[in-house]
């Protein structure tokens, strides 16, 4: 019952947050200088006949609040996120086309980062202040300091130009003629660039928490009972040390659904981030709005799941209803 109430409570909050975010986004895009009319008409925008006709067609001549309410009505009643002004493409179509690439990029980057960072952090924390620890910490620090675009240039030079293993640009869909193999090849370098930064952060955060946990009395007790090291690390130390990691993981989940603009642009991955930036520059208000709605919803949902996972990691959270 408590869980059901919590879920319902969260869902209401989610709706409120998304509504507020959508209103603010709508307002902010309107506050931006410029107009899609200029983009579409160019110098013909000075022609009052053309301008008025286009503004009427796009509904931009209506008062702000009316535009917003009409938009919300479309979203709720007709499940219609509007169309891009310049290409008449439904926003839902654009998002459906862009989300798979961003989701794949995000999921693979997150998974690979975890697969690498957790063992590294365990090793580093277990051998704190050893050469191994210092090497891992320094490497992580180096990767954090390295800008993504610089790493991208290096990886393209090495793996695309010199070794010819991966393509330098483009995204092959799983449903394309190349199937999964070509898809993985096309996404390899972008995932590597994103994973590098995430791995470094996750390793450092988890290592710090693990070192603190390993000082706890219950770990000393486990050691005195003669439990194997791997058992202590994995069964006793890792779980209570994962709060910060989980929080970061959740935040990155939400952020990366919005796409990584630099990586997507550089590698020509048709993702949500690239769509968002282009839409902002071209004053495609409805597309921007659609992208923000998706990101906000994903963000709230993922953080909701993250909160639930806290209680899995630590039953005390569940008991206190936090």
């Amino acid at each position: 019952m408590t869980i059901v109430r919590t879920v319902l409570d969260r869902l209401v909050k989610l709706l409120v947050v998304v509504l507020i975010v959508s209103f603010l986004t709508f307002m902010l895009t309107k506050l931006l200088p410029g107009s899609p009319v200029n983009t579409i008409l160019g110098s013909e925008a000075s022609n009052p006949v053309a301008r008025t006709a286009l503004e009427e067609r796009l509904g931009l001549n209506k008062p702000f609040l009316e535009q917003y309410l009409s938009y919300i009505h479309g979203v709720v009643v007709e499940r219609d996120l509007g169309k891009s002004y310049s290409q008449d493409i439904p926003t839902t179509t654009s998002l459906a086309q862009r989300l798979p690439a961003s989701l794949q990029l995000m999921l693979m980057a997150q998974a690979i980062s975890l697969l690498i960072s957790v063992p590294l952090a365990l090793l580093s924390a277990y051998r704190a202040n050893s050469r191994t620890d210092k090497a891992i910490t320094a490497s992580a620090f180096g990767l954090i300091s390295l800008p993504g675009f610089a790493l991208a240039v290096f990886l393209v030079y090495l793996f695309s130009i010199q070794l010819g293993i991966f393509p330098a640009v483009g995204y092959d869909r799983i449903t394309g003629p190349g199937g999964l193999g070509e898809n993985l090849k096309s996404i390899a370098l972008p995932v590597a660039v994103l994973s590098a930064g995430l791995t470094a952060v996750y390793t450092r955060v988890l290592r710090s928490d693990l070192i603190a946990t390993l000082q706890e009395d219950f770990v000393l007790m486990a050691r005195s009972k003669g439990l194997p090291t791997w058992h202590i690390l994995l069964r006793h130390a890792l779980r209570p040390s994962s709060f910060s990691l989980l929080t970061l993981f959740g935040i990155n989940f939400g952020t990366l659904i919005g796409g990584s603009v630099i990586v997507e642009t550089f590698f020509v991955i048709p993702g949500v981030g690239e769509l968002a930036v282009r839409s902002i520059l071209q004053r495609e208000y409805l597309v921007v709005q659609g992208v923000v709605l998706v990101i906000a919803t994903a963000f709230v949902l993922v953080n909701f799941v993250t909160d639930l996972l806290y209680s899995v990691l630590d039953p005390r959270v569940r008991r206190t209803g936090a």
């Binding site: 200029n38 330098a168 640009v169 642009t265 550089f266 282009r278």
Partner: protein, 552 residues
């Protein structure tokens, strides 16, 4: 001097400017020679694109086209629109020139019928009679006839279509179809006599779409059913556009080979210039277009071939004459004298560009080399600034690394002669808004000026109170000269008028041209045959139907 697009526009975002280009391409005029029976072979096969676009031959092998094969073409930006009348930026044009055939085109700088068989003007240039090619069908098998042409222009003339070509096509007061809608003849009655009309039809406003497809609800911005050498197989925004050979295409090259040469052409947007070169090296793409002269040089250094296209546009500085300080002629002249174009060329472009002093290309018959346009002269600039008691102004541009370099040079040379220049950069949407706001919310601004073959293209930019006059220039003599030049087909009369306009504007400096842009088509000569020459008025774009793969 026809302005379109910011000179310092980000390579990643040309979007707003292609609309302007579309408009300006439409504002063209007529060549009397356009009537008659001239037939333009679709396959110029590397022939000169003529006119004011100069293509520098690369050092690769001569064109030896063969049928077959597939190529991947990299563009600087994603396709903005495929719609007739709207497509104008290079990435749009390289695709739409494959999907559609314009009613007229250019051969050796002359506008000639293309999808039209003939186009004849009456004596006072107020009426044009067009006969279409016989037996041409759209990709959906709809026959090309007068009805398709009339419906096309009716659609563009409807303000609800929001075509950037609205002003241009609005000059078509009415159309007659003497042989009926199924016939091949259309008579255009113009509201104002214009020698530029055939040129209007060479722009994307002259691409005819299938009326059947439009009636069926086709979104012309992302879909296309034309008569061109390719059909549209796939349109994925931000990802790729795939063209496949139209097996029923009517056109052949000079050897009688049916066009297009390629079986398939895939166009992919690659905004990052370094990645375009990398993709060419890895074989992900076979050819790419660029407006970045450094990329051309870098690619040549890496062993790739490059077709260079210069003279189709210039980078310019708009000077707002409706407000201080540039309402004073001395201020405009001072800035013009202070700009060292050779220094900009050397530092920003490795010396590969050419300084520009006119709204016309160097090889245009209308280019006046003795117009008296100010050249770099710091002493004169300093005298004028002293006379003015100082010159403070803000120069606004879109931020790009290239813009930053150029602006710093202009600022430095200006301040050397006593000016106080504030550089302001603004993102594209906001920048456009300022330039097009009432009265122009700027003092000086970076821009791009396209040099069209048809000289009437400069008219809106210099005509009093015209929507395209972004600097608020007004000179009754210039208005009169431009109108006269538009309404005569006599070359010498027109030339004299444009020479005089250049002399007046050379003195009054409503804007400053800096350097001719350089566009490049960079390719791997082992995979791609030398590209056809750049299309006039198309900022380096080429006709894809004439591209061929080495070995087929």
């Amino acid at each position: 001097m026809r302005r379109q697009g910011d000179i310092l526009t980000s390579k990643h975002g040309h979007a707003p400017w292609h609309r302007i280009i579309g408009l300006f391409m439409g504002l063209v005029l007529v060549a009397a020679a356009c009537g008659g029976d001239d037939k333009a072979a679709p396959g110029g096969d590397g022939g000169a694109d003529g006119g004011e676009t100069t293509t520098t031959a690369d050092e690769g092998p001569q064109r030896q086209p063969v049928k077959g094969g597939e190529l991947v073409f990299g563009t600087e930006s994603d396709v903005a629109t495929l719609a007739p009348g709207e497509a104008a930026q290079p990435s749009d044009k390289v695709i739409t020139l494959g999907l559609y055939d314009p009613l007229t085109t250019y051969v050796d700088g002359e506008v000639v019928p293309f999808l039209a068989e003939t186009l004849e003007a009456n004596d006072d240039l107020s009426q044009y009679t067009m006969t279409l090619r016989e037996g041409v069908t759209f990709h959906d098998d709809t026959p090309l006839n007068a009805d398709a042409v009339v419906k096309h222009f009716d659609r563009l003339k409807d303000p609800a279509t929001a075509c950037p070509c609205l002003t241009t096509v609005s000059n078509i007061a009415s159309m007659d179809v003497p042989d009926g809608p199924e016939g091949l003849t259309v008579v255009f009655h113009l509201a104002t006599p214009s020698v530029a009309f055939p040129n209007d039809l060479a722009s994307s406003a002259g691409y005819i779409e299938s009326p059947t497809a439009v009636a069926g609800g086709l979104n012309l911005k992302t879909g296309a059913v034309g008569t061109g050498p390719f059909t549209l197989a796939e349109f994925s925004a931000g990802e790729r556009v795939v063209l496949e050979a139209n097996p029923n295409y009517w056109g052949t090259d000079e050897e009688g080979i049916q066009l297009p040469y390629l079986d398939k052409l895939t166009v992919v947007p690659i905004p990052d210039s370094g990645q375009r070169v990398a993709a060419l090296e890895t074989g992900d793409i076979d050819i790419f277009q660029t407006a970045d002269s450094k990329t051309v040089k870098q690619s040549e250094d890496a062993g790739f071939a490059a077709q260079k296209i210069s003279g189709s546009s210039s980078t310019i500085i708009l000077l707002n004459m409706s407000k201080p300080p540039f309402d004073d002629e001395r201020a405009r002249q001072a800035l013009a004298y202070s700009i060292d174009k050779d220094l900009i060329n050397e530092r920003a472009y490795d010396g590969v560009r050419v300084p520009s002093y006119s709204g016309f290309a160097l090889d245009s018959p209308y280019y006046n080399p003795d117009a008296g346009t100010p050249q770099y002269d710091p002493k004169k600039a300093e005298e004028l600034v002293t006379d003015l008691g100082g010159l403070d102004f803000t120069l606004v541009c879109i931020p790009t690394p290239e813009a930053e370099l150029i602006l710093n040079i202009i600022k430095q040379t200006g301040e050397d002669v006593g000016m106080n220049i504030t550089i302001e950069t603004q993102e594209q949407g906001a920048f456009v808004n300022r330039i097009f706001s009432k009265g122009g919310d700027y003092e000086a601004a970076c821009f791009r000026s396209t040099h069209f073959i048809e000289p009437d293209a400069i008219r809106p930019g210099l005509t009093t109170d015209d929507a395209g006059n972004l600097v608020f220039y007004s000179n009754a003599d210039v208005d009169r000269l431009l109108d006269e030049a538009r309404q005569t087909g006599d070359f010498e009369e027109r030339k004299a008028a444009y020479f005089e306009v250049q002399e007046i504007t050379g003195e009054e400096v409503p804007l400053i041209t800096t350097l001719y842009d350089l566009f490049g088509n960079v390719y791997d000569a082992g995979r791609v045959g030398p590209p056809p020459d750049g299309e006039p008025n198309s900022l380096g774009a080429i006709k894809p139907g004439l591209l061929y793969a080495v070995g087929g």
